[in-house]
Amino acid sequence: MFVNRLVRVGSVAVASLGVLALSACGSDPEPSGSSSPSTGSSSTGAECPQGTLNAEGSSAQKNAIEEVISKYNESCDKVTVNYNPTGSGAGIKQFNNGQVDFAGSDSALKTEAKDGGESEAAQAAKRCATNPALNLPMVIGPVAIAYNVDGLPKLVLDGATAAQIFQGTVKTWNDPAIAKLNAGVTLPSAPISVFFRSDESGTTENFTKYLKAAGGAAWKGEPAKKWTGTGAGKEKSAGVAEGVKSTKNSITYVEWSYAVDNKLGVAQIDNGSGAPVELTAETAGKALAAAKPAGTGSDLSMKLDYATKEAGAYPIILVTYEIACSKGLPAEKTALVKSFLTYFAGKDGQGALTELNYAPLPEEIRTKVDAAIQTIS
């Protein structure tokens, strides 16, 4: 009798769970892009492989790569691409451990060894069956200095002043250093609330590189993924953007798209050329065009000139690299990586980025990247 009850109750429970679990048979949504006038599907889709591609890394390119994946699936719907925006360091680690097929990173693989171990590049080469890994610059994400001050639609900063604000030596909005750059504007006397990224991030690293290069002695720390300036830390880009949004008289550095989405003020940068530079896709692209390749041959890692004085160039940019094996992956993975990255570096892929507040690769660099991708085998 007890056994009967046990069986009966057990089956009721299992059945209910089953109903709960399997009531619906899942599917993927219709590609929403197909209804909108998208330019996808027309080109590149030459041959579409099949399979799943896992990638991980920089959160700065999250929105860019998701958009590109979505567009890519319109022409190649048999490919599943997963991207986990956990951070550049995590991406490289997972790539080197063979957990993902390519990584996204806000800095190229480091060639110098650290902590007595192998360098990132050496580990990556090992992962790629002793073939070097490629650093493919793919997404240009301008970093905005975003602020929230009532009655201040426009704010101009230069490298030194920005460094002083983020170092904490300039403490109030009506400090003479800021006032000098913003003549004719009434600045509040309120203290400046600085927000920074509490997690280690490539955005922090690139921004501090800028502060170091353009701020001179005003910035005391070394460029690093971990913040060394003043302020209050918030988690991830969303956290700092939300912090500025909800706190009056605050300022932070954040990827451009977050500043735009949260409707924050974006400071113009006086890079020393004479006229303040507004942040646009064009001005950011200009800064990248001024960058020099750091390596030779197929190594496309870039050396950005944060202290550029070129007129109309917005100097605080962040380049996200896709890190992929030049050779050595299984054939089907190679085909997937190649197909997807070709699309990413193609005109359609890059064209999708502008409306998301990224800057497209300048044509010259784009063709180089594309050529490098075609060498993957």
Partner: protein, 306 residues
């Protein structure tokens, strides 16, 4: 005497308070009533606020069939559409695996504590260890599985690894509640069974466990509800995928908490914000469904005798 007559029906009445007490005592009584009611109201405000936030912001996506049957493949944060099917399935699959591993160990462990080891040093050691497990924060459990599964064995991050971490969190909950339920089984039942010559294992399987069955099921469901909302192990042990992946041993896998975590970075965008609250509401509803199920099972299987 009269006080008893007057007071007895007045457990929930107010007329009692004012009858024949000195001013100070009556005042204290009124004050206490006010404070207790105030505590209740204060507690209700945030709780209703949270529920209202989630329900009002999340319900409308749940009304569409797509939400229950489609994944987020190809849906970016700027676009509406898609559903939570991939995440619901991921959450249920991981919860199911967790239960399959944790429940037998927990029930048998409780049987050991109550039926076999009672009072022995070994049982006290086990009990102590269960206490330690109860105290393991989810992030520590996740770190442990990370150390074993990924650092030492070199496996990929998969849904199964999450389940293993959740087992550590679920095991002590189920074990403790099962233990309590088994303790409630009257010894007379066991003695009667032994007196009939039924061997001990059969007594346990056919008398003790069935008697406590309802309570055990309730404990299991509550344990499941607890682990389904965990975020930290998912962050550390599996990648999030917008695509449907029903294989817990290969590839990234969606789950409701990580779906919330994914879209919460873009709360400034309406489609993403909608999905965050809808996923939260879905998770709450799943847990609620499990709780109702537990109550139902408990009601069907409770043994009336006591």
């Amino acid at each position: 005497m009269t006080a008893i007559v007057e007071n007895k029906p007045a457990y929930d009445g107010k007329e009692l308070d004012l009858s024949g007490k000195s001013g100070a005592r009556a005042f204290k009584n009124v004050l206490a009533t006010v404070l207790i009611v105030a505590a209740f109201v204060i507690a209700l405000i945030p709780l209703i606020w949270i529920l209202w936030t989630v329900v009002s912001k999340g319900y409308h996506l749940l009304l569409s069939a797509d939400w229950w049957s489609q994944s987020q493949r190809g849906v970016t944060v700027r676009r509406e559409g898609g559903g939570a099917y991939h995440a619901i399935m991921g959450t249920l699959i991981m919860a199911l695996i967790t239960a399959v591993i944790a429940v037998p160990i927990a029930v048998l462990g409780a049987v050991y504590l109550v039926e076999y080891g009672k009072g022995t040093k070994a049982a006290r050691a086990v009990s102590f260890m269960v206490d330690i497990l109860t105290g393991v924060p989810s992030i520590v459990a996740a770190l442990f599985i990370y150390a074993v599964w990924i650092t030492i064995f070199g496996f990929n991050r998969v849904g199964f690894a999450v389940s293993l971490a959740l087992v550590l969190l679920m095991l002590p909950v189920v074990l403790r509640s099962t233990e309590e339920m088994l303790k409630l089984v009257p010894d007379e039942l066991r003695e009667a069974s032994y007196a009939l010559g039924v061997p001990k294992w059969k007594t346990i399987l056919k008398v003790v466990v069935p008697t406590a069955f309802g309570g055990i099921v309730t404990g299991v469901m509550l344990g499941l509800a607890r682990v389904m909302g965990e975020t930290a192990p998912l962050l550390i042990l599996v990648g999030y995928s917008k695509n449907i992946n029903l294989n817990p041993f290969d590839g990234f896998m969606g789950a409701l908490p990580t779906m919330i975590n994914q879209d919460r970075t873009e709360l400034a965008l309406q489609p993403a914000a909608d999905r965050v609250w809808s996923a939260a509401l879905t998770l709450i509803l799943l847990v609620l469904a499990l709780n109702l199920l537990a109550r139902l099972v408990a009601r069907f299987s409770t043994i009336k005798s006591k």
